[in-house]
Amino acid sequence: MSDKVLMKGAEALAEGAIQAGCRYYFGYPITPQNETPEYMSRRLPEVGGRFVQAESEVASINMVYGAACAGVRVMTSSSSPGISLMQEGISYISGSNVPCVVMNAMRGGPGLGNIAPAQADYFQAVKGGGNGDYKRIVFAPSSIQEGVDLFVDAFELADKYRMVVMVIVDGLIGQMMEPVEFKTRIDVSTLKTPEWATVGRHGRDHANIITSLTLDAAGLEQWNLKLQAKYAQVELTESRIEEYQMDDADYAIIAYGTMARIAKTTIRIARAKGIKLGLLRPITVWPFPAKQIQTYVGKLKGTLTVELAYRQLFEDVQLALCGKIPLGWYGRGGGVVPGPQEILAAFEEQFGKGR
């Protein structure tokens, strides 16, 4: 018997986080992800967790920081303008080596923008956003089921590497309904409090101190080198990609999240027309699956990067391929989501009929 249930994305992802062991959630209302904190507010108390509505996103992320210092599984979610307000906290959390998960249901920007689906926070998520040299693992699911599954990995990797893991979706994934199955249930009673956590000494022979401050320049450089070594390890082992219809492909669309999902329809239409088109879909956008994409050098006649942003993902594709495969690009902004035919038209405009 299948355990599938029909759920709205923003609620399913919340339940996925709870099944992954998340017991603490701090957040502030913002569209299009309000169903996530609403769900958390009624569900977390049922499983012995706590939901707190903060006074702002600034407070949310710093409450997350506090709970993360206690070594529990904790998350927040927001949408683009709110995530911008959290960048300070994300930098501090990263600089302190504590784990948490942050979900961004990306919407149109810049500024207040709108509440329509977008991928324009790619640079912020992948390249930085806050101050200093830090990285987060960034998962970009393209379906509700994948998002639910990735939440388990998100919390596991956050704990393993003691770092921030982001899950970036958009209002489209958050608002649609799909059947979803919760395959993994983490028993939180098996999760041990880490030895570094600030939970009171309780007989420990030393005080634990969590800080992102190192006044001495040589000391801070050493701290940065430790962070860099960690990020190098993550880059080596944690990048993920889906390769869809790539076995015989002459061309590939490179896209993630909602855009990748739409691109799969484009590929079906293209293949019916005799164009051998495949899809390279980064599941992690940091670490970026550059090595996997590079294996197609010499095999592909071209790639078309498709995104709901202006040449953000495209920059990582450029860096990965360094002009070794002809690079096309098609993007839309402001919350406009192109259909499969529009993507195909962009492809044909840039690569002819693809033969």
Binding site: R50, V52, A207, I209, T211
Partner: protein
């Protein structure tokens, strides 16, 4: 006779054996010591988490033998909230200056007070931004010269000082709110008594507590330590009166 000698003053056990970085005549050391004495006397060292600010006390965590975290500027109450909800039996306090608490962190302190959850705040009011070199703070008095109010603070240019204790006492959340001064032995004893009530408000699970401590900044005030103490009495106390502004039933 050795057997008749008894210890009447010693280093608190929760005080790490370190020399602080504070300027001569600064009252941070006094406030730190009171925290350490109370943590000892109330048997809290094993369950305490200190949340430190950005400001002169940014390195406060180095001076104590209990767990600590270092917050972003103004965010200590939010961080303390996150720590407290994960382990409600722990003793969680923030230690914040006036720029940290009353300027950049005003939203966080007001909402922590309004929630009323049992965390304790030690609030150091020395009328300026000490660490960054003596700029105007929300608590800078009218007429007071600072590096960013070189002709003296005026209401027209800079608005009015904020009385944090009185303001937060208007909320229903707090269990205990007081203003004390660290300028003299008698006031330091009173300050410790107020801090004990504030700690108790949390330990007994009654609610949010805050003690505002009138403090000195001889370096940036460009006064000697003794002159600084006098200034607190003559100029600061008239604007920031000492007293208990909120004491709910059960706080003792």
């Amino acid at each position: 006779m050795a057997e008749q000698m008894k210890v009447i003053y010693e280093r608190p056990r929760s005080w790490a054996n370190k020399v602080t970085h504070y300027c001569p005549g600064c009252t941070h050391g006094v406030a730190h010591r009171l925290v350490a004495e109370l943590v000892d006397e109330m048997g809290l060292v094993d369950k305490t988490i200190g949340v430190w600010p950005v400001g002169c006390a940014v390195l406060g965590y180095d001076y104590f033998n209990f767990d600590s975290v270092e917050a972003a500027h103004g965010r200590a109450p939010a961080m303390a909230t996150g720590i407290k909800v994960t382990n409600p039996d722990n003793f969680v306090f923030t230690y914040q200056g006036d720029g940290d608490l009353a300027s950049i962190g005003m939203a966080e302190i007001v909402h922590a007070a309004a929630r009323g959850w049992p965390i304790t705040v030690i609030f150091i009011n020395n009328g300026n931004y000490g660490m960054t070199g003596g700029q105007m703070a929300p608590t800078t008095l009218l007429g007071q010269k600072t590096t960013t109010s070189p002709l003296g603070r005026t209401p027209q240019a800079n608005g009015f000082p904020i009385r944090v204790a009185e303001m937060l006492a208007q909320l229903d959340g707090p269990a205990y709110i007081a203003r004390v001064s660290l300028d003299s032995p008698v006031n330091i004893r009173k300050a410790k008594s107020a801090m004990r009530k504030a700690f108790n408000a949390q330990v007994r699970g009654i609610g949010f507590s805050l003690v505002e401590c009138l403090s000195t900044c001889p370096t940036n005030w460009k006064l000697t330590p003794v002159e600084s103490m006098e200034r607190v009495r003559k100029e600061v106390m008239p604007y920031f009166p000492l007293g208990e502004f909120k004491v709910v039933e059960g706080v003792l």
